[in-house]
């Protein structure tokens, strides 16, 4: 039937460890939501509704995948929301409506995000600043740049690039595939590369990792670079969606705390070292399903109330 339902059916086979619980919870919540909405005379499993939920997960999903890697490495990143605003602006300004500038625009975004991740990682490792404060501080620095340079949406994204935000392949939005691709790449990185194993080692115990020869500094920095790159990709997606860059798109979306919440919901341990991307994807879907259900209940409630009165 639909991709979501399929994925829910795979869930028990897919997931092991702490992520399994989240996938099961997701399945239960979807069933519950469908039951509630159907009982109230609504139609839950419509293509439009499922699509809406899926496309709502995209930006948060991409950010949360990056956040997972930062958290697995025993760190976290509170600067992502501001970085998303900044990168959406970089994308829209470099592209300036010209399809030929799409590639330079994307590269500029990736370079800027990598730089921010590098700064986050270096401040944490070289200056010995706690990740909470380091990324909060870097976030404030970016906030100041946004506030002093921009007074609102700026730049413009060519139509060709907007297709990233609006196209669908069959029923599935391209952007959802992008999110899954990012998640897949992150999972490959974590489980198939030496650096990925180092992330778990550093997150588990820095001292033990260092003593067993893991390059701890490099690993932490790398985790932050990847986390920031994910935020940059989310910024690109949002720019394609909005047709322009917007300084507040990241903070209005609450991507900093929500991405952390999704990671934790997905069974990744906040102190680092345990968890994975699969759980995070389930966590993001779970948040989207709940959000959507709440929306439906609120509208329902209003029109029940307004129709019941004589």
């Amino acid at each position: 039937m639909t991709a979501l339902a399929e994925r829910v059916r795979w869930a028990p086979r897919l997931a092991t460890g702490p992520a399994a619980g989240t996938w099961i919870a997701l399945g239960l919540v979807v069933l519950l939501a469908a039951a509630i909405v159907t009982a109230r005379g609504g139609d839950y499993l419509t293509q439009a509704n499922l699509l809406n939920m899926l496309s709502r997960t995209t930006a948060l999903g991409i950010v949360a995948v990056g956040q997972t890697i930062a958290i697995l490495a025993g760190s976290l990143d509170l600067s992502v929301a501001y970085l998303i605003g900044l990168t959406s602006l970089i994308a829209a300004e470099v592209m300036a409506g010209d399809p030929a500038m799409i590639v330079p625009g994307v590269l500029a975004v990736l370079a800027a995000s990598a730089l921010v991740g590098l700064v986050n990682g270096l401040v944490i490792t070289k200056l010995q600043v706690n990740a909470f404060i380091a990324t909060l501080g870097v976030g404030l620095v970016i906030k100041g740049i946004l506030e002093s340079r921009y007074e609102g949406p700026a730049g413009s994204v060519p139509v060709l690039f907007q297709r990233l935000g609006y196209d669908r392949i069959g029923p599935i939005p391209v952007a959802v595939l992008l999110m899954l691709a990012v998640a897949g790449a992150a999972a490959l990185f974590l489980h198939r590369t030496r650096a990925g194993h180092h992330v778990y080692a550093v997150g588990g115990n820095v001292e033990v990792a260092r003593l067993s020869g893991v390059p701890t500094t490099r690993t932490t920095v790398l985790a932050h670079v990847i986390c920031s790159l994910c935020a940059g990709v989310a910024g690109l997606y949002l720019a394609s969606r909005l047709g322009a860059g917007a300084p507040y798109v990241g903070t209005d979306g609450g991507y900093d705390l929500e991405s952390i919440a999704a990671v934790v919901l997905g069974g990744t341990v906040l102190a680092g070292g345990r968890g994975g991307v699969s759980g995070t994807v389930a966590g993001v879907l779970l948040l989207a399903v709940l959000d959507n259900l709440f929306d439906q209940l609120v509208l329902d409630a209003f029109f029940k109330a307004s129709c019941a009165a004589p």
């Binding site: 490792t125 010995q128 990740a131 501080g137 506030e147 820095v206 919440a261 341990v269």
Partner: protein, 330 residues
């Protein structure tokens, strides 16, 4: 247990920075050194400083409290709706607010310690629940208004002949600071620090770790209640009154040299961290650094201060970003 040198060693930079900032403000605006101006500065800093004291208890015990900002908003909005301009309702409502504060702190503490949920997650959830609840309850717009007597502590002061007015906020801040300092010198204070330093060791030594931590959350929520009374008094009803206060309070505590992850730092230094933040805002304002770059300067200074403290503290182990959850029962 910390030695005296250890305590002062970690705390000294923040007092130095505070002094430096106050001197800088006085250079830009010589009026600042007049008692009235200094007291006005203390009055403005009081809510954040009290929140920082509350947050200190939680952080030094190895946890986080992200719910204080939304708790402040809830308290102010609830107070306005229940008092609704009625002077006689003031005292019962304040008692109710304290009860609400106790309850929120207790829930934070119990979920964190008994259900072994990381406090970052517990209090993040509490933040979302409180802001959602207040939104549903009010439909978004606060209703009612605060009575004059409710606003008295945040807005007025006592007149001392020949000197001028001493704001209640400043007096309350001094009382809170003194109380916190005494508490941290007591046996309970030592067990709190020991819990944050190494909860397994503390538990083995017979410290009731769960109860100590829960008490820390309750103290933080009570501090938020006091801050809410002062903020509501200072500026009246607003649905945004508590916005971002949790991050400011944590920043203040960390500026004071208190280590996230627990076990190190003094409560007066945390309080001084709040005074530093407030002085920084005042100075930037006086220098006419536009609102725009203010965040950038703040970000750089926070990182610099913590990096400097880390340098002084020497090459200790890098603390984890987020403390481990309370020990699971075996």
């Amino acid at each position: 247990m910390r030695t005296l040198r250890d305590r002062v060693g970690a705390a000294a930079p923040v007092f130095g920075v505070l002094l430096l900032l106050l001197v800088a403000i006085a250079v830009v605006n010589p009026n600042f050194l007049e008692p009235a101006s200094l007291l006005a500065y203390l009055k403005r800093a009081a809510p954040l400083a009290i929140l920082a004291v509350g947050q200190y208890f939680v952080i030094v015990s190895g946890e986080f409290d992200l719910s204080v900002g939304s708790l402040v908003t809830v308290q102010v909005v609830v107070a306005a709706r229940l008092i609704d301009g009625d002077e006689s309702a003031t005292v019962p409502v304040i008692v109710l607010l304290i009860g609400l504060g106790l309850l929120v702190g207790l829930v934070n503490g119990l979920i964190t310690t008994r259900l072994h949920v990381p406090s970052f997650v517990t209090t993040l959830g509490m933040l979302l629940v409180l802001s959602g609840a207040v939104f549903l309850w009010t439909g978004g717009a606060p209703r009612g208004s605060l009575s004059e007597s409710f606003r008295e502590p945040g807005r007025q002061g006592i007149d001392i002949p020949g000197f001028g007015q001493v704001p209640w906020s400043a007096l309350i801040l001094i009382a809170v600071a003194a109380g916190a300092a005494v508490l941290m010198r007591s046996a309970w204070g030592h067990t709190l620090v020991a819990t944050g330093d190494n909860d397994r060791a503390a538990a083995l030594a017979g410290v009731p770790v769960e109860r100590v931590r829960t008490t820390a959350f309750v103290l933080s929520a009570l501090a938020a209640t006091v801050a809410a009374i002062l903020l509501g008094g200072f500026a009246g009803v607003s649905a945004q009154v508590g916005e971002g206060l949790e991050f400011s309070a944590i920043t203040a505590v960390v500026l004071g040299g208190v280590v996230l992850g627990g076990g190190r730092g003094s409560v007066l230094a945390a309080l001084a961290g709040a005074l530093v933040l407030e002085a920084l805002f005042t100075l930037l304002n006086l220098l006419g650094v536009s609102g725009a770059l203010e965040s950038t300067v703040q970000g750089v200074i926070i990182i610099a201060a913590v990096a400097y403290a880390a340098r002084r503290a020497g090459r200790r182990r890098r603390p984890p970003a987020v403390p481990e959850p309370s020990p699971q029962p075996a």
